[in-house]
């Protein structure tokens, strides 16, 4: 099952490498991992998308929690939450037909064209992983994809629930 884990940890040198090392050392899967400091610069927040059965998930959560730098970890997928990922994608837009079509698809997905070259459009889209996948597939049917980059997902719990020190 796919899970999204949110981790709050000390913003110390080496703390990210401990997380990454742990996943490879124990053969845990990482689908995506994002990290950035929080509004409190002494803290970093990591979001990890991973897959595994319940036993593996339990081990992942416990093992991450065991790292000395880690203050808290929570499984966002356990309850209702919001998940977002950013996609930047560059596609071929050579003639009127393909330009119109790309624009139409982008509008439908509520994305925005953020840069235009002689023959290419660069598009930005946010959403959950499923939406981004659908967008990429639809675009690929219409035109050629030159390059794309995804941020990996970030997430936050709905309602009052919060991950803080």
């Amino acid at each position: 099952m796919r899970r999204i884990l949110a981790v709050l940890l000390e913003n110390e040198p080496g703390s990210l490498s401990r997380i990454v090392g742990l996943f490879s050392q124990r053969a845990f899967n990482i689908e995506s991992l994002t990290v950035a400091p929080t509004e409190d610069p002494s803290l970093s927040r990591i979001t990890i998308a991973t897959r595994g059965d319940d036993r593996v998930l339990e081990q992942i959560v416990k093992q991450v929690n065991k790292l000395i730098d880690v203050i808290k970890i929570t499984d966002l997928t356990e309850r209702s939450h919001v998940e977002r990922e950013l996609l930047l994608i560059k596609v071929l837009a050579m003639n009127d037909k393909s330009r119109t079509e790309v624009k139409r698809i982008t509008d439908i997905f509520r994305g925005s064209i953020i840069d235009i070259g002689k023959q290419v459009y660069t598009i930005q889209l946010t959403g959950d992983a499923e939406k981004l996948n659908a967008f990429v597939t639809t675009l690929a049917n219409e035109t050629e994809i030159i390059e794309s980059v995804r941020s990996g997902c970030v997430g936050i719990a709905r309602g009052e629930k919060a991950l803080r020190v």
């Binding site: 000390e10 080496g14 090392g21 416990k62 093992q63 020190v165």
Partner: protein, 574 residues
């Protein structure tokens, strides 16, 4: 008035003194020369100069295992630090409190592939509890205090500190502040077991018909053997120890049914297999215990008490997990038991013990002393008799280790010192040296083999320098016995690289290092000569005992079988 200023090197030594460190084990080199200079100019901390950094880590480790204090290592950057890796991993696997201070090239050179630069924090990351890079001189004392706190609390383990040379030198000075009462927002090991879980555990224990207590190294680390013994007596339950847990209850206690696992006793493994409730205390269901996890004790309800949540339900699912310090949880369990007025049902217990005693009769890790050659097991029995069961026994890795575990019933915790998790050959001698340093008046034995002893033999020189008269007993079978046993049993008897040609003359070798060497070749001289060896108090004695090279360790679990599928002698299953 300005406060007194110190170099980073002086701060290191002052911090160690403030933390009551008496000994550090190490080896000098370029990046730590300032620390050596600071050590030279004080008397609080004594430095023990080893002959190889790996031995420094094992010495610190042995010292830590015997005393419960943090073992401290000092090594230079690059090769000095990488030589520590095996010892750090050994300590990590067995949860031993250790702090390793490693030199590093100056901060201005880090990342340039400078002379003797290795990223020791990176190299050791998967085998440490935590590690620190120092970048500001004033941080050094508090980083050391934190390292000690982390190494010794919760589930203990090794901590590495990297000290760049420019912070240590007279060109960087700072004020000395140390906060020995450490608090960290990200690290608060839990202490008490959850009351609800305690209640559940007691209910399961008191309603069990076939209860067994399975205790491990956690009991030793937690100094909880007194409470454990009380609990076992109160429940009148059979108890088995893991290899790491030996001495957790006296090896001669009436409820003790021997070690379990790969080379455990028949009765311990059978009792586990047939139990309806297993109380696991500070043990981790290691693969050398469970054998095939799919066949592991399918009918048992498992109560698992451990300080480390990751140990619980990792390999075997626990029905009643309890996270907490063992010495605290055991007291909670005893209190809850007292509150329930529990008395074991006499009839049920008697029936259970009858079953267990039947298994006991099958084979209590037996051997037969026949023929000319000395059986290795006989040497351990003699050793036990002569030291009246009171020696510290520090083991290397191989058949001799298993024979010692089986035939020397340990009366007390911390008496049995061995590398259980990593199985590090070369551990025995330096570990024994660390123990002897801590307890100079006690008998300290290094039980070893002709293979293992050669992995850190150079420390015989350190023993002379610091007058560490340990008794080395080498069960010399002219082979890598444990490897050979597997080759006999699993690889059609093909002894690929498992015998030792051109062994040295160990007697002369010991003598050339300035010690006493002794060889025992005949059964009838075994006890006399061993007695003689133990009577020599102020010199190290190396006893080279020529033993039967064909002896195998039995019982032995059958690969991929259940916990109690075992060979009890060549070709005979339990």
């Amino acid at each position: 008035m300005t406060k007194k200023q110190f170099t980073g090197a002086q701060m290191v030594v002052k911090a160690l003194a403030a933390l009551d460190v008496k000994y550090i084990f190490g080896y000098p080199g370029g990046t730590v020369l300032d620390i050596y200079d600071a050590l030279f100019q004080q008397t609080d901390v004594e430095h023990i100069l080893v002959r190889h950094e790996q031995a420094a880590t094992h010495m610190a480790d042995g010292f830590a295992r015997a005393t419960g204090e943090v073992g401290v290592v000092l090594a230079t950057s690059g090769p000095g630090a990488t030589n520590c890796i095996t010892g750090i991993a050994t300590a990590y696997m067995d949860s031993i409190p250790m702090v390793v201070l490693s030199g590093q090239v100056p901060t201005t050179l880090i990342g340039d592939d400078a002379f003797q630069e290795t990223d020791i924090v990176g190299c050791s990351r998967p085998i440490v509890k935590h590690s620190f890079n120092c970048r500001v001189v004033e941080d050094i004392p508090n980083i050391i205090a934190k390292a000690f706190y982390i190494a010794s609390t919760g589930r203990p383990g090794p901590v590495v500190i990297e000290l760049p040379k420019d912070l240590l030198m007279p060109t960087s000075l700072g004020e000395f502040h140390i906060e020995t009462d450490v608090k960290m927002r990200s690290y608060n090991p839990s202490i008490k077991g959850h009351p609800k879980q305690i209640k559940k555990a007691v209910k399961a224990m008191t309603t069990a018909k076939k209860l067994i207590v399975y205790s491990g190294g956690g009991v030793i680390i937690a100094n909880a053997s007194g409470l454990l013994t009380k609990l076992v007596e109160k429940l009148d339950a059979p108890i088995t120890n893991t290899l790491m847990g030996l001495g957790g209850i006296s090896g001669t206690h009436k409820n003790y049914i021997g070690m379990l696992g790969m080379h455990g006793s028949v009765e311990a493994n059978k009792t586990m297999a047939n139990a309806d409730v297993i109380l696991a205390l500070g043990a981790r269901f290691d693969d050398r215990v469970t054998n095939n996890v799919k066949k592991f004790c399918p009918d048992a309800k498992i109560i698992h008490v451990d300080i480390d949540p990751t140990s619980i339900s990792k390999t075997i699912n626990a029905h009643i997990p309890v996270v907490g310090l063992l010495e605290v949880v055991l007291q909670q369990l005893l209190d809850e038991l007292a509150a329930t007025d529990f008395e074991p049902n006499k009839e049920e217990r008697a029936q259970w013990w009858q079953e267990i005693n039947h298994w006991r009769g099958l084979n209590r890790v037996g051997y037969v002393q026949e023929g000319e050659q000395i059986k290795p097991q006989r040497v351990i029995e003699a050793m036990y008799k002569i030291t009246q069961g009171e020696a510290y026994v520090c083991s290397d890795v191989g058949q001799h280790q298993m024979f010692a575990a089986q035939y020397y019933p340990f009366a007390k915790p911390r008496q049995w010192i061995n590398s259980g998790g990593l199985g590090t050959m070369g551990f025995g001698l330096p570990a024994a040296m660390g123990v002897k340093l801590a307890f100079p008046e006690s008998h300290v034995i290094c039980i070893t083999g002709d293979g293992s002893i050669q992995m850190n033999i150079q420390e015989l020189s350190t023993c002379l320098q610091y007058n560490l008269p340990v008794v080395i007993i080498s069960l010399n079978n002219r082979s890598l016995g444990m490897v050979r046993q597997w080759q006999d049993m699993v690889y059609g008897g093909r002894h690929s690289s498992s015998y030792m040609e051109s062994l040295p003359d160990f007697v002369k070798l010991a003598e050339s290092y300035g010690h006493v060497g002794m060889q025992i070749n005949h059964l009838d001289e075994l006890e006399d000569k061993l007695t003689e060896a133990f009577a020599i108090k102020n010199r190290l004695v190396f006893v080279d005992v020529l033993v039967d090279e064909n002896e195998h360790v039995y019982p032995m679990q059958i690969r991929l079988g259940a916990i109690d599928d075992m060979w009890i002698k060549k070709g005979v299953k339990a």
